[in-house]
């Protein structure tokens, strides 16, 4: 709870710093503030009480998600010091907006009321609409922002329709009440309730970029500034899934809806992975791979077993770590390769910076799900969970698609470790190096000693 307040205030503070032109202070303050937020979240561990008239509830899962997301944001901010160094204006706004967005993410992890869910999504999204367009002079950035905004609003409309319908049946936005109704209705809910849940699920599917509501993600990932893309791919995805899972846990999706979402999962797994095969732009590749990961995560959400929260947390967190690290590497490569974001430009990385390449390798292997990296444990947990939930055939597909996933990640590895005629002159500042290294170490450490939420 206090974390929520802290980040809100932090955002304002950053804006003030911007107003007073203290550009150099922005990153330290932001990082310190977020560290504080982690600390505050940590103190809230085991203090699991409903707050604000059952609006939010910071249970352990929420605390863990919040800390993880904050941690990822800190990594991004550390990277941002270098990233924003060449930016003249609006730096404070960027920081502040990201912190605000993080605040929205906190709401998504802890809501117990649909209104909070709705606001959480909006608080999360609106800054992102803006941030995606953060590179104002860039056409692509603008296009990304616009697409994101328009499709996002559309999805919001659908989502709201869902809330309205659910409200019509339950006369409340409180998850507890909704849960009661859902229990009472059992496997054959009234059409209105079913429709309500359906629209809410669709709205959330958009946020997590599930096929066919994923169309925004490749374009936005590509167009948005890399830092924002990384934020979207990690924190936003984590928050959206946490929100989704919470909903599913309370409403225990009606069977037909679950089936429909399973079909969506299948589509997501298939299209996300298959299309990623043909991507040459690294950011688009990451976007499709993110769609692909959405497929795996949807299995967790739909499976909705006792282990779901833990699995989801582990998966999204480790995925986030790897993604952040890779985006940093990509930025460094991009600078060395005259702004090219193509996978091809990774070529020669090992020659130029062996350790960077090896860390990138670890991160990629983690995304691909090769053992002793966190990604493997994450994927395995997903399979286990999906099998437990009875999704035998879908799991088979997921396994096959995991292979396809490996295929496109390994191509990046191959490029990075192929020698190039022209050496890639990669400049690595200490902070960048630190971020990448932290990600790499974390990914391996979490792979060797997987954590589990209690």
């Amino acid at each position: 709870m206090s974390a929520l307040i802290l980040t809100s205030v932090l955002g304002v503070l950053l804006l003030y710093l911007g107003v007073f032109g203290q550009k150099r202070l922005l990153a330290p303050v932001a990082v310190l503030g977020l560290l504080g937020a982690i600390g505050v979240s940590a103190t809230g561990w085991w203090m699991d009480v409903p707050l604000f008239a059952h609006m939010v509830r910071f249970d352990n899962a929420a605390a863990a998600f919040n800390m993880a997301m904050t941690g990822l944001t800190i990594l991004l901010f550390l990277f941002g010091v270098d990233y924003y160094a060449r930016m003249e204006r609006d730096v404070a706004e960027h920081y502040a907006l990201m912190v605000f967005s993080l605040t929205g993410a906190f709401l998504l992890t802890s809501y117990t009321n649909l209104l909070v869910l709705f606001l959480g999504i909006e608080v999360l999204s609106i800054p992102l609409y803006i941030l995606a367009g953060g590179k104002k002079s860039s056409y692509r950035s603008g296009e990304a922002s616009f697409k994101y905004f328009l499709l996002g609003s559309f999805a919001t409309a659908l989502f709201l329709m869902g809330i309205a319908l659910v409200y019509g049946v339950t006369a409340s936005f409180d998850l507890g009440r909704i849960q009661e109704v859902a229990m009472a209705q059992g496997a054959a809910p009234t059409p209105l309730f079913l429709l309500g849940l359906f629209f809410i699920a669709i709205g959330l599917s958009f946020k997590v970029a599930a096929v066919p509501f994923h169309f925004w993600s490749p374009d936005v990932y590509e167009g948005a500034p890399t830092l924002v893309t990384a934020f979207m791919a990690t924190v936003v995805k984590m928050a959206a899934f946490a929100g989704f899972l919470r909903l599913v846990q309370f409403t225990a999706l009606p069977p037909t809806l679950a089936t429909a979402l399973l079909v969506m999962t299948v589509l997501t797994l298939f299209i996300g992975n298959i299309v990623a095969l043909r991507q040459t732009n690294f950011k688009r590749l990451m976007a499709y791979s993110s769609v692909a990961h959405t497929g795996f995560l949807l299995l967790v959400v739909l499976g909705n077993t006792a282990a779901s929260t833990s699995t989801l947390f582990y998966y999204t967190f480790t995925y986030g770590l790897a993604t952040v690290g890779l985006f940093v590497v990509m930025t460094l490569v991009k600078r060395a390769a005259n702004g090219s974001e193509e996978v091809r430009s990774f070529r020669g990385l090992y020659q130029a910076r062996p350790w960077l390449a090896i860390t990138a390798l670890l991160l990629l292997l983690s995304l691909a799900g090769i053992p002793l990296t966190a990604g493997f444990v994450a994927k395995y947990q997903v399979f286990l969970l999906a099998l437990q939930a009875g999704f035998l055939k879908t799991t088979v597909l997921a396994v096959a698609m995991a292979l396809v996933g490996i295929a496109y990640y390994i191509v990046v590895v191959r490029e990075a470790f192929t020698a190039d005629e022209q050496p890639l002159e990669v400049q690595v500042t200490p902070l960048n190096g630190l971020v990448v290294l932290l990600c790499g170490i974390a990914v391996v450490a979490l792979g060797v000693w997987p954590i589990q939420l209690p």
């Binding site: 955002g11 804006l15 609106i126 803006i130 367009g133 002079s137 056409y139 006369a171 209105l192 429709l195």
Partner: protein
Amino acid sequence: MLTLFYLFAAISVLSALVVVAARSPVNSVIALIVCFLSIAGHYILLNAQFLAVVHIIVYTGAIMVLFLFVIMLLNLNRSSEPQKSLATRVAAVVAGGLVLLTLLAAVRQGISVEPARDFDIGTGLVRSVGRSLFNEFLLPFEVSSVLFLSAMVGAVMLGRREKNPQAA
């Protein structure tokens, strides 16, 4: 009462159609305003007086004016804007129709929602809504400030011209 409802309903549906179909953006805006006004009528029918007022202020007064303003500012009021191909438009109508059909089909057996037993006649009034807002919904209320702040910051940030625009 029912007659009034049908009247408002007809107005809102018709004006909504006009919003979609009108050639000129300004016409659309005006149709939308009409639509919103009719919706405000519904609110009154539903005894949601507070909401009706806020609705008119926010939508008709603020949002729609903003729309108009932007249309004028960007000089978008050309009636000959390019249209989508016929096939696309038909597809759009069909899609909308299908959604409507499906939704209606879903509720054709009734919505089986039991209205509350003990009605509070003050439900839609300022007092009731306000109490609710500042008790139960305090957190969302506070959070919305963050929302607005970010929207403001964003609007300023994006709306401001770059001093030294450079090619992407």
